[in-house]
């Protein structure tokens, strides 16, 4: 069981709880290797995937997780919902609350949407990504993947490269790494840095090549052009030459270090195809652990006497 009934930001979980979630996820990872990948654990519980932003991979990961736990999963996507008719988020939340679900996974274009839901809904809220703010389950699955690949979390140096200021992935991963005793280093041009990186508690570097030899993980972010009002760098070509992960840069990483990416990748921009598909890449492991980690989050949020009316 977790102290908070929501996971909206990394502030909602302690370092010990992170370890507990990852340990629990290991058990679920075993289930995901079975022929019959289904558990009766959350039978009769209703989990709503409330997605106001198109997202195939995250939605599918949550959906598979809820199905493997035998929860009744309902998908609500903006295109198929009342929001196109102009219903407010608050009204949608109240409507869902009236249908009494147990857990809502929300993905929204704007920061703070999960907090808005939590104010009017009497169920657990899991943030599936809010604006450029946070994406905590992504950070948890990243930690899981790092622990599986490198055997530990404490002391790791994790270089997060690219569009930091428009990245909810970085928004959660940086505090998550700090909690477990790893060192996040955010790397990119100053135009892609947050206003106050010191608030996040990350080291800042502008030169990727300088820090590569010291890294245990090179974590490449998707360069999300559509979010930037002005192009923050002159061209994809120049971005790739300064910050793209390629074979030459891979060779500068220590031999044990791994390459990660939250997906979807812009091959040829932040990562070359040969690196993405290399043995050093654990990008597909991230996707795989996503299901187990989300199962663990659902299990730990919905289990126990203190949560849910079904007790």
């Amino acid at each position: 069981m977790l102290a908070s009934r929501h996971i909206m930001t990394m502030d909602d979980v302690t370092a010990e709880e992170i370890v507990h979630i990852l340990d629990t996820a290991e058990s679920f990872a075993e289930v995901n290797q079975r022929r019959i990948k289904k558990l009766p654990t959350l039978r009769g519980r209703t989990i709503v995937n409330l997605f106001f932003e198109p997202s195939t991979r995250t939605r599918m990961s949550f959906e598979i997780a809820s199905k493997r736990l035998s929860a009744d999963g309902v998908n609500f996507t903006a295109s198929s919902s009342a929001t196109v008719k102009g219903e407010t988020l608050l009204d949608t939340a109240k409507t869902l609350a009236a249908m009494s679900c147990d857990l809502v996974v929300v993905r929204h274009k704007y920061a703070g949407a999960p907090q808005m839901l939590a104010e009017v809904m009497d169920c657990s809220i899991v943030n599936g990504g809010d604006g450029v703010h946070q994406h905590p389950t992504q950070a948890l699955l990243d930690l899981y993947t790092m622990r599986q690949s490198l055997g530990k979390l404490e002391g790791l140096r994790v270089g997060i490269v690219g569009d930091i200021c428009h990245s909810r992935v970085a928004g959660s991963l940086v505090p998550a790494l700090r909690k477990v005793g790893a060192t996040p280093i955010i790397i990119g041009p100053p135009t892609l840095m947050p206003a106050r990186p010191d608030v996040l508690g990350a080291e800042v570097a502008y030169d990727l090549d300088e820090v590569l030899p010291s890294l245990d993980v090179a974590y490449l972010l998707r360069v999300q052009f559509e979010r930037a009002a002005r192009m923050p760098f002159p061209s994809n070509r120049e971005y790739a030459s300064l910050y793209g992960m390629n074979a030459a840069r891979l060779a500068k990483l220590p031999p044990h270090a791994v390459v990660m990416h939250p997906g979807p990748m812009n091959r040829g921009v932040e990562i070359t195809a040969d690196v993405a598909d290399s043995a050093r890449s654990v990008i597909l492991d991230q996707v795989e652990s996503g299901v187990a980690v989300r199962m663990a989050v659902m299990y730990l949020l919905l289990g126990g006497a203190d949560s849910g009316a079904a007790a």
């Binding site: 069981m1 075993e30 022929r35 019959i36 299990y299 730990l300 126990g304």
Partner: protein, 184 residues
């Protein structure tokens, strides 16, 4: 609530004899060790499975596959009772067409066994599932019975039965505990 020991129902020697007898019974019922697999329910059931496997190997001369099972995800009371720690399930053999002997220390309501049978089924279709327990204390809530029993011990619902195993508790045995009346 505190508990105090009301009675010792099995000492180390009795437990040793019971395990040996159960090993023989399993072999007899299954006509040898060739098609069986032992699966212990975490945590003491898993230790019991390992001990039974040793005995069976000693008797038959061939190793028996042993696995351990955590039933946290199969409990019917997840909503009110969350296992503080989930242990890894490890069944290193194919249960398909094998007679799986589930082992647990105490048989009580039967709910744990129900969960364990569901869990085993998710690994495949065993030819049979059998149940071996060290202590059967009664008070079943489901139509479940054990195939192999170390000892039947009549108890009150307010009492608890604790099986001690050297691996965990420093010594072997089984005791009945009762409320010490001291509250929390």
């Amino acid at each position: 609530m505190g508990y105090r020991v009301k009675a010792e129902v099995m000492d180390a020697e009795a437990m040793d004899r019971a395990l040996t007898r159960i090993a023989h019974e399993i072999l007899e019922a299954n006509k040898g060790a060739g098609t069986i697999g032992l699966v212990g329910i975490m945590t003491r059931g898993a230790d019991m499975a390992r001990r039974l496997a040793e005995r069976i190997e000693r008797i038959e001369g061939t190793p028996v596959p042993v696995g351990s099972l955590d039933i946290s995800f199969y409990r019917d009371d997840v909503a009110t009772h969350l296992s503080p720690e989930v242990h890894a399930t490890d069944i290193p053999f194919d249960v398909e067409s094998r007679a799986v002997v589930l082992t647990d220390d105490v048989l009580y309501t039967g709910r744990t066994i129900r969960a364990a049978m569901d869990a085993i089924m998710d690994y495949g279709r065993p030819s049979a599932i059998q149940l071996a327990v060290l202590v059967d204390r009664g008070h079943r809530e489901l139509p479940i019975r054990a195939d192999y029993v170390g000892k039947n011990v009549p108890t009150a619902r307010t009492e608890r039965v604790k099986v001690l195993l050297a691996e965990h508790d420093g010594k072997d045995g089984a005791v009945i505990l009762e409320d010490d009346g001291k509250g929390e």
